[in-house]
Symmetry: C2
Subunit: 236 residues, 2 copies
DNA sequence: CGTCCTTTTGAACATTGTCAAACACTGTGG
DNA sequence: CCACAGTGTTTGACAATGTTCAAAAGGACG
């Protein structure tokens, strides 16, 4: 028997772009089959190749999307609250292309994929929101591809730091929100190479102390990194 | 004064997945502002950063999507008839992330972006088709990212050849449909490196004669390439 | 035939990955 | 409190991979 979600979860879900403008009834029927669960860290939520039975929403904590091939693994993205993941597989009713694991203790909602597809056909606002969201995801993957193909690993790291700095309100000092080994994988390099890359950035005014980064010469770092809105912006 | 499109163009556009199931009236109003043009080879159709005023459809010929940063250029995709490109930018009304140029003499339709967005809200079938198409595009970029991050350039080339072979009906001999320098850029390597990579694949049963590829030891090549549907399939 | 462009080749170089070991940090259990 | 194991990070030496530059070879085309 399904008991329904707590109001706090419901209102949090409702505030997501994806569900914001949709009809109350439709939101209700979407939530009917939805359940919310707490997961400990390092739990594998889905494996690539699995059938896409659910659309996932991270309510708190964080989730890593990663992929494997031939005993190699690569970190593809980090999902922070509140956002969905694995939307495209849900839409296409196709197997997941990426695996997902919790990075920390996380509260996660699972919405049955077939309900998402059904409500899509009923609710034009919801359809509009899904398309907008999906187009954003698409563009963020394209930016990532440009980052990978047009930049060296040192340039990728420099631009990553500038993006994180912007995220932290342009402070000269901020914390890496990712383990270094995971950051290395995100940037498409080995941990050893990342360690050396940090050293190389010293000459452009980057100090590193554990997870604490300080940018001592903003102009110099930017001159080297050459950030570009068509690669490094979040929202455009 | 707009004269309307020739019937042959109209029916070709209509046969696109994107427009197949939509209402006649809506298709008509979408086509009203659309015009079709023939372009010579090597014409730059759009530049990254431009406002996304049109959704493009390649009716014949071919188009390369590419990106630039810091005087470097990378080939992102090749668009073959009949398909659209730059859909996500159109949906989000955001600047293009990629530039596009014709590779050969091409016939191309331009649909005003605002009309696409307007008809999206009127026609549920069309909305559904756009989401499905966009999800497919998203997944193909994700696969490309996995290819780039999880494989060496030699492995990428080997799997590219296997994909092309499948595209050519599993023939043991087929033609590269891309200039080698362009293929190198698509695969994220230099032309020199590609040339050497072809040589290295000799030991896995790959013969190269100009643009003609023959695979003399299928099993051996596959054993090396380890193709994976979650990276190398077109449609899943 | 000469010109332009692509492709190939060679050699030097730069970057990145691998492996092994040292180091640092964390939390556990004595 | 300390010793210890476990994990993540850094370092060094080396190997593999990829790039750059220069030059030669091959094709397409006027």
């Amino acid at each position: 028997m399904h008991l329904g979600l707590p109001d706090s979860d419901l209102s949090e879900m409702r505030s997501l772009h994806l569900f914001e403008d949709m009809d109350d009834t439709h939101f209700g029927s979407l939530m009917q089959g939805t359940y919310v669960q707490n997961f400990p860290p390092q739990i594998e939520l889905i494996a690539e190749g699995d059938r896409s039975d659910f659309l996932y929403v991270v309510l708190s904590g964080s989730v890593e999307l990663f992929s494997c091939w031939n005993r190699r693994e690569s970190s593809m993205a980090t999902i922070l609250p509140v956002s969905t993941f694995i939307l495209a597989a849900t839409i296409r009713d196709a197997p997941y292309l990426m695996s997902a694991r919790t990075l920390e203790k996380s509260r996660i909602a699972l919405i049955p994929s077939q309900d998402v597809r059904a409500v899509f056909d009923l609710d034009a606002q919801f359809a509009r929101a899904i398309v907008t969201e999906l187009a954003l995801c698409y563009r963020s993957v394209v930016k990532n591809t440009k980052d990978l193909k047009l930049r060296t690993s040192l340039e990728r790291l420099a631009n990553y730091l500038l993006r994180q700095q912007r995220y932290s309100g342009m402070a000269n000092e901020f914390e890496l929100r990712l383990e270094k080994r995971r950051l290395a994988s995100v940037l498409g390099m080995t941990p050893e190479n990342l360690s050396r890359a940090f050293k190389n950035l010293k000459s452009y005014g980057v100090r590193v102390d554990g997870n604490r980064i300080s940018i001592t010469d903003q102009a110099d770092l930017e001159k080297f990194a050459k950030p570009d809105p068509l690669i490094d912006s979040y929202s455009i």
